[in-house]
Symmetry: C2
Subunit: 339 residues, 2 copies
DNA sequence: TTGACTTGCGCAATCGATTGCATTAATCGT
DNA sequence: ACGATTAATGCAATCGATTGCGCAAGTCAA
C-alpha cells in the first residue's frame, strides 16, 4: 500500500502538501505545477487514500449507517437502494444494520455505529416509540427518519403522504359507488400503521362520512397472516360492507385469503385496495388495486437530506412527504346493486 | 467522547493496560483486581472504544463489504439479511455497495472498499467474467462469492445446488407424465443462468433424455419482460411441448404473460415451473410451482465462511452448495392425453 | 526602497488505540 | 538465600492522514 508519504518523497515535497493537493477543495492554495506533479505521481504509484487514517484525524468518516427492521422487506430494500445510490455518488459508504431484537437493542446498535464514527444515521425502524432518536440527539449525530414520522418533529423525516394516499383510495372507492367502506389498519405502535389510520379517517371525513370504530380493525402485524385474521374479525362484524382499504399490500393479500375462506369473491363481493404497490401484486389473483409509493425515491430524498444536514447546508428539520399515486387494477369494482 | 486515556487516568494505570484489560483475549495478562477496576471505570464513564482509531493501528476494521448488483432484488436482499446477521453477531459491520454501471465500474468499488480497510469482501455481482476477483486476489483481501461460481475455483463460493434443483424440477415433471420438456434459460453471461442451463441438460440426461438446442431458449435478462419475449420465441418453435422449466421465477411469470397472449392456459395447456420461490409467487395466478432456495441461509453460510477466512481458521477455498427444495403448487399438472 | 500583504509550502502536533519491548515486582527452584 | 523465571504493567513508537501555525519568497502600493 502506497501512502501519502511515498507520494511526497517521490515528488520531493512535504506530505502535507500532498494532502492538500489531493483535496480538490484545498487544492487552490498549492501551486499549479506542484499539484500536477503530485497528481501524476499519485496516479503512477497507484496511491489510494486511507479512509481510516483520514477519519481518525478529521473526525469525519464518510460513512452513514441505516438501521432497518428487515432488510429483505420489500418496503425497505428499495429505500436502501435509493439511499445507497445518492450516498455513494457523494463518496459516502453505507453501513446497514438490522437489530436482532433478541440479541441487542436498537440503541445499542446506535452506539456501535457512533463508535464507528458514522457521519450520520438513518432510522427506518418504525416503532413509534424507541429511544434511538434520543441517543442520536444526545450524541449530536445528524439523523433522519424514513418511512416514519415523529410526533414532535425534532428530527427531519421522509415519509409518504399517508393522508393523500388514503384520500386517493377513498375517493376511488366512492367514485365506484361504494358507501360502506372499512379500514384494515396496521399495528398502531408503528408509524405507518397509525398515520394511515388517521389518514383514512380524515379522508372519510372530508368526503362527508364518519367511520365508526366498528369499521376499523387493527392487524397485529403487517403480515398476510395477521391481515387474514383481522379481516376475518372485521368481516364477521360488518358483513354488509362493500369495500376495504388496507393499510398495506400484505394486509390486502391477507384479506384475499379471508375472503376465500369465507366463500366470498374479490372484487365481486368485496372490493379491496392495498397500499405500497409492492412487486408482483399486479400478478396476484385478482391483480391488486393499490396506492403506489416510490420507496426508492424516498431513499434518495433521505440521502439528500442527510447529506445536507451533515455538510451543514441546512439547519432546519424539514418534513418531506412524497406524493402517492393511485394504481387501479382489478380488485376494485362498483358494488353490487344493493338493497 | 471518553477515550481510553480518560479511563486510564481515572483508574491510575497506563492506557496500554486499559487497552489490554478491555480485550477479552489479552485480559489474562493483567491482574484480576485491576481488570475489575478498569471495567468498572469504563462502564461508569460510558467508554466506547473508537473503532476507527483501533483500525488504523491494528489494520483490521471489523467491517466487510458486499457488492450487489441490486439491493432490492428479492434474491439478494435475503442474502444480505443473513449475512448481516452472522456478521453483526461477531462484531462486524456490513457495508453494502451497489455499483452503478454508468457511474463507476465494480472494480472501482472494490478499490473504495479496500481503501476503507474492509477485512473481507463478498461478491454477489453475478457477471461470469469481471475482474473484481483479480483485484481482491491481488490485494490479498479475503473474498467469497455468493450466488455465483467461478470456473477455476480460486475463491470460495456459496451457491445453490443448481444441478440438484434442476433434477428436482425435471423429475417432478417426468413423474407427472411430461415427456417434451423445454427450458427457458437465463442470460448465459450470468453465473446462475449458465449453471442452471447445465443443470437442466444434465438432469435430463440422467433421466434418459437428450434436450435439443431447439428445446432451450435464452432470455436476455432475468426479468418478466425478457421471459415473456423468450417464451414467445420458444413456444412458436415448439408448440408441441407440454412443460417448461424456467431458470428463475421472474422468467416463469414472463411465461405466464406469453401464454395469456397466445391464448393458452397454465397449467391446462402447459405446465410451468420456476426457480427461487421468491415471495408472493404462491399468490399469483396460478400459484407457481418452483424450486425453493433459501437465500437467507446462503447469506449466513457466506458470513461464516468469510469470517473463518478472515480469522484464519481455514485456508482452503471451499465450495459450499445449499440444497434446494421442490415446492409443488398449481402451475404444474399432468399433460393432456396426447396424440 | 520599505513595510504590509499574499502566496506556497514545510513543520510538527494530533486523532485514539495497539503492541513490541523494557522494567519492576513477585515467585520459584535449589 | 540468591540468581532465574514469570507475571504485571509502563513506555513510547506507530498506523496514515489532517491541519493550525509559521516561515520564506514574491507582490504591490506608497
Amino acid at each position: 500500500m502506497t501512502t501519502i508519504k511515498d507520494v511526497a518523497r517521490e515528488v520531493g515535497v512535504h506530505p502535507s502538501t500532498v494532502s492538500r493537493a489531493l483535496d480538490p477543495a484545498r487544492r487552490g492554495r498549492i501551486g499549479e505545477p506542484v499539484v500536477r506533479r503530485i497528481l501524476e505521481a499519485a496516479e503512477r504509484l497507484g496511491y489510494r487514500p486511507d479512509t481510516v487514517a483520514a477519519s481518525l484525524r478529521s473526525g469525519r468518516s464518510n460513512m452513514v449507517g441505516i438501521i432497518v427492521p428487515d432488510i429483505a422487506n420489500p418496503v425497505f430494500s428499495p429505500i436502501i437502494g435509493g439511499l445507497e445510490d445518492v450516498l455513494s455518488a457523494r463518496g459516502y459508504a453505507l453501513i446497514v444494520a438490522d437489530p436482532q431484537p433478541q440479541r441487542t437493542g436498537a440503541d445499542d446498535i446506535v452506539q456501535r455505529l457512533v463508535a464507528r464514527r458514522v457521519d450520520g444515521l438513518v432510522l427506518a425502524n418504525v416503532a413509534l416509540k424507541d429511544n434511538s432518536i434520543e441517543r442520536c440527539l444526545s450524541w449530536k449525530v445528524p439523523v433522519v427518519l424514513v418511512n416514519r414520522a415523529e410526533a414532535e418533529a425534532r428530527v427531519p423525516s421522509v415519509v409518504s403522504d399517508d393522508v393523500a394516499g388514503m384520500r386517493l383510495a377513498v375517493a376511488h372507492l366512492l367514485e365506484l359507488g361504494h358507501r360502506h367502506i372499512l379500514h384494515l389498519a396496521g399495528p398502531q405502535m408503528l408509524s405507518t400503521g397509525s398515520l394511515r389510520r388517521r389518514g383514512f379517517v380524515e379522508a372519510m371525513h372530508e368526503a362527508g362520512f364518519t367511520p365508526a370504530d366498528n369499521d376499523i380493525e387493527e392487524a397485529e402485524a403487517f403480515t398476510r397472516e395477521a391481515g387474514r385474521a383481522a379481516a376475518l374479525r372485521l368481516l364477521a362484524r360488518q358483513p354488509e360492507a362493500t369495500a376495504i382499504v388496507a393499510a398495506n399490500d400484505l394486509l390486502a393479500l391477507g384479506i384475499y385469503e379471508a375472503l376465500r375462506e369465507t366463500g366470498r369473491r374479490c372484487p365481486e363481493d368485496l372490493s379491496v385496495i392495498g397500499h405500497n404497490d409492492m412487486p408482483l401484486v399486479d400478478l396476484v389473483d385478482p391483480p391488486l388495486s393499490t396506492i403506489r409509493i416510490s420507496h426508492r425515491e424516498m431513499g434518495e430524498q433521505t440521502g439528500q437530506l442527510l447529506l445536507d444536514l451533515i455538510e451543514g447546508v441546512r439547519g432546519d428539520a424539514p418534513y418531506v412527504v412524497t406524493a402517492p399515486l393511485l394504481v387501479v387494477r382489478r380488485s376494485t369494482q362498483p358494488p353490487r346493486i344493493s338493497r
